[in-house]
């Protein structure tokens, strides 16, 4: 942070009028009025990347969705066929249902756990900083590595989770964490909570800090109880943060892939296939790119709608 100081010094030495330093044309040094070409030059790399790696692929995706495109052969246009056949695709429809269920449960559980951890991390007591770091660390680990770790730990023979449960006397034998659809879903959700709740805690803590301390003091002077302060100050103050986290949790869960691919691989019996997993399988296992592209377009439209609604809501709140 030495920069501002050195600059102040250079201001101090400035005793001669500007003009004597430079020839007149230099006057238009105000960066904003510099030739627009310079500005374009600065954003050219951005424009190239956005155009080539984002806009063009978007176009290709839409085109793909109207073709029959086996991965290794050339595409032939087939109109709306990919879209009209989607409702009959049991795997895709099942994936949508499953992804929605997974999203709903995950969002609720994440918030429930996050509130407990925020209460601890926000405490003035000693050690809360350490606790906060402990809860956050799993977030830093990659999802694929974390999922592999979980997969090792739930193993029937060597997994440590079974051993812990048996050690405290909760179970007598191996649980079979991935054996039934219900248990597999539970196992993935426990992994996701462990891995992602730290992020929610951090964002909620920042949200709490933005609530002015005077509000709480005033309420205390007025004799408000802890519960009343929570209800009338904390919850309203956190509303934007909560809305944001809800959207992030929903969009993130709708796009879940790594944890299912690694832990359950969609099983048992395709009971835990998410939309992105179905899309991946169709494109790179069944090599039906056109049909997979149609699924992708549906997913894309759904996510854009959610994002637009979010923007609207946030904008309304600001105005």
């Amino acid at each position: 942070m030495a920069a501002p100081n050195t600059l102040k010094d250079s201001f101090g030495t400035l005793s001669v009028p500007k003009e004597s330093f430079r020839a007149p044309p230099r006057k238009s040094r105000d960066p904003a009025s510099r030739r627009p070409l310079t500005g374009l030059l600065f954003v050219t790399p951005t424009a190239v990347v956005v155009a080539v790696l984002f806009l063009v692929p978007l176009g290709i995706l839409v085109y793909m969705s109207f073709t029959d495109w086996p991965l290794l052969a050339s595409p032939t246009p087939n109109g709306m066929a990919n879209y009209t056949s989607l409702p009959d695709d049991d795997l895709f429809v099942g994936a949508i249902t499953f992804t929605l269920i997974y999203t709903a449960i995950t969002t609720v559980v994440l918030f429930a756990v996050a509130f407990v951890l925020v209460a601890i991390s926000h405490s003035q007591r000693r050690g809360s900083r350490f606790y906060r770091t402990a809860y956050f660390l799993p977030y830093v680990v990659g999802t694929a590595a974390a999922s592999t770790m979980w997969w090792v730990d739930v193993n029937d023979r060597l997994g440590v989770f079974n051993q812990v449960l048996q050690g405290v006397g909760l179970t007598n034998g191996p649980v079979g964490f991935l054996d039934t659809p219900g248990k597999a879903l539970f196992t993935v959700i426990s992994l996701v909570v462990w891995k992602f709740v730290g992020f929610q805690v951090i964002v909620l803590l920042v949200g709490l800090q933005s609530i002015p301390e005077q509000l709480y003091e005033a309420a205390r002077v007025d004799g408000a109880s802890t519960l009343q302060r929570l209800r009338y100050i904390t919850v309203p103050g956190l509303k934007p943060t909560l809305a944001l986290l809800t959207v992030l949790s929903i969009t993130g869960s709708l796009l879940a892939f790594d944890q299912f691919y690694v832990l359950t691989h969609g099983g048992p019996d395709n009971s835990t296939v998410t939309v992105v997993l179905a899309l991946y399988n169709k494109a790179f296992q069944s090599f039906r790119l056109g049909s997979a592209a149609a699924e992708a377009v549906v997913l894309l439209v759904a996510l854009v709608v959610i994002n637009v609604i979010q923007l609207r809501l946030l904008r309304n709140r600001e105005s």
């Binding site: 374009l40 984002f54 050690g127 999802t143 709708l254």
Partner: protein, 275 residues
């Protein structure tokens, strides 16, 4: 007093639960081969050993290849994101030009599009460009995904630099570029570190993109290779070595987080509040 004890009991129990899987992988990776694959597992290593790390060298191409691949991809992604975002951020913050808001909007729109959906056409596009199954192609795609966050952050950082500071440097005889480098870049350095940090972490941990783009086993990155161990071995899986591999994959992330915590949290918040 009793309340404090209860608070610490609950908090510490939860902290142990959160740290346990990480510590367990570390502990297991340091056991001897037979102990790491012993059933039921032992709690603490009876004797320490690096045998599990040694046998990582024997996985397919050997851990070194995957490590180098991961470092290359992450390095290229960091370099690309920082260059593009610093230049672009400055351009958006300080200049007016035709199509500025359209380009900025298009960049932020990357966030709106679920990233898994766009990997499909990118696979086709990269094949046509001869970049499919290359680390550079993968890095380019990862740079693209960093743009909305990076451009937004760098634009805001540059906007926060008072123009007077830059002008003063010009008056003091700096060249246009010199003023930019000495004044602006120094002030926005925290933003640059944040962009670099997040580019590194996302590219280091990315799984789906390399899974789709790389089909040559010699080019796999660390996460792809890790998950492959879980799937490709039809015989008995070496759990100790697998856990050693996970430690190798997560240590850089943990170290960077602990070192750069300040940038990490400010980046998370900036990223989360970008809406």
């Amino acid at each position: 007093m009793r309340k404090t004890v209860a608070f610490h009991a609950v908090s510490a129990a939860l902290a142990i639960a959160f740290l346990f899987p990480l510590l367990w992988a570390l502990l297991n990776s340091l056991k001897t081969k037979s102990e790491a694959n012993q059933q039921p597992p032992s709690w603490f290593p009876h004797s320490l050993s690096i045998a599990n790390y040694r046998s990582l060298a024997g996985f397919d191409q050997g851990i070194g290849t995957y490590l180098v691949n991961s470092i290359l991809v992450s390095g290229l992604t960091v370099l690309g994101s920082v260059v593009v975002c610093v230049l672009g951020g400055y351009g958006f913050a300080r200049f007016t030009f035709h199509g500025k808001s359209v380009l900025f909007g298009a960049t932020l729109a990357i966030l709106m599009v679920p990233y898994a959906t766009i990997l499909l056409p990118l696979y086709i596009l990269l094949s046509r460009l001869g970049l499919q199954n290359t680390l550079i192609g993968l890095a380019l795609v990862l740079v693209m995904f960093q743009l909305p966050f990076g451009i937004f952050l760098m634009r805001n950082s540059f906007e926060a630099v008072p123009r007077e500071l830059e002008e003063a440097a010009l008056v003091d005889g700096c060249s246009s570029f010199g003023a930019w480098r000495r004044v602006c870049l120094r002030i926005v350095l925290p933003g640059v570190v944040t962009v670099a940090l997040f580019s590194f972490l996302t590219s280091w941990n990315e799984y789906l993109a390399p899974l789709i783009f790389l089909n040559d086993g010699r080019k796999y990155t660390l996460p792809v290779m890790l998950v492959n161990i879980r799937y490709s071995s039809y015989n008995i899986i070496d759990f100790g070595a697998l856990q050693a591999g996970m430690v190798v994959a997560m240590v850089p992330c943990l170290v960077l987080y602990l070192l750069l915590q300040r940038f990490y949290v400010s980046g998370l918040v900036a990223g989360a509040l970008r809406g």
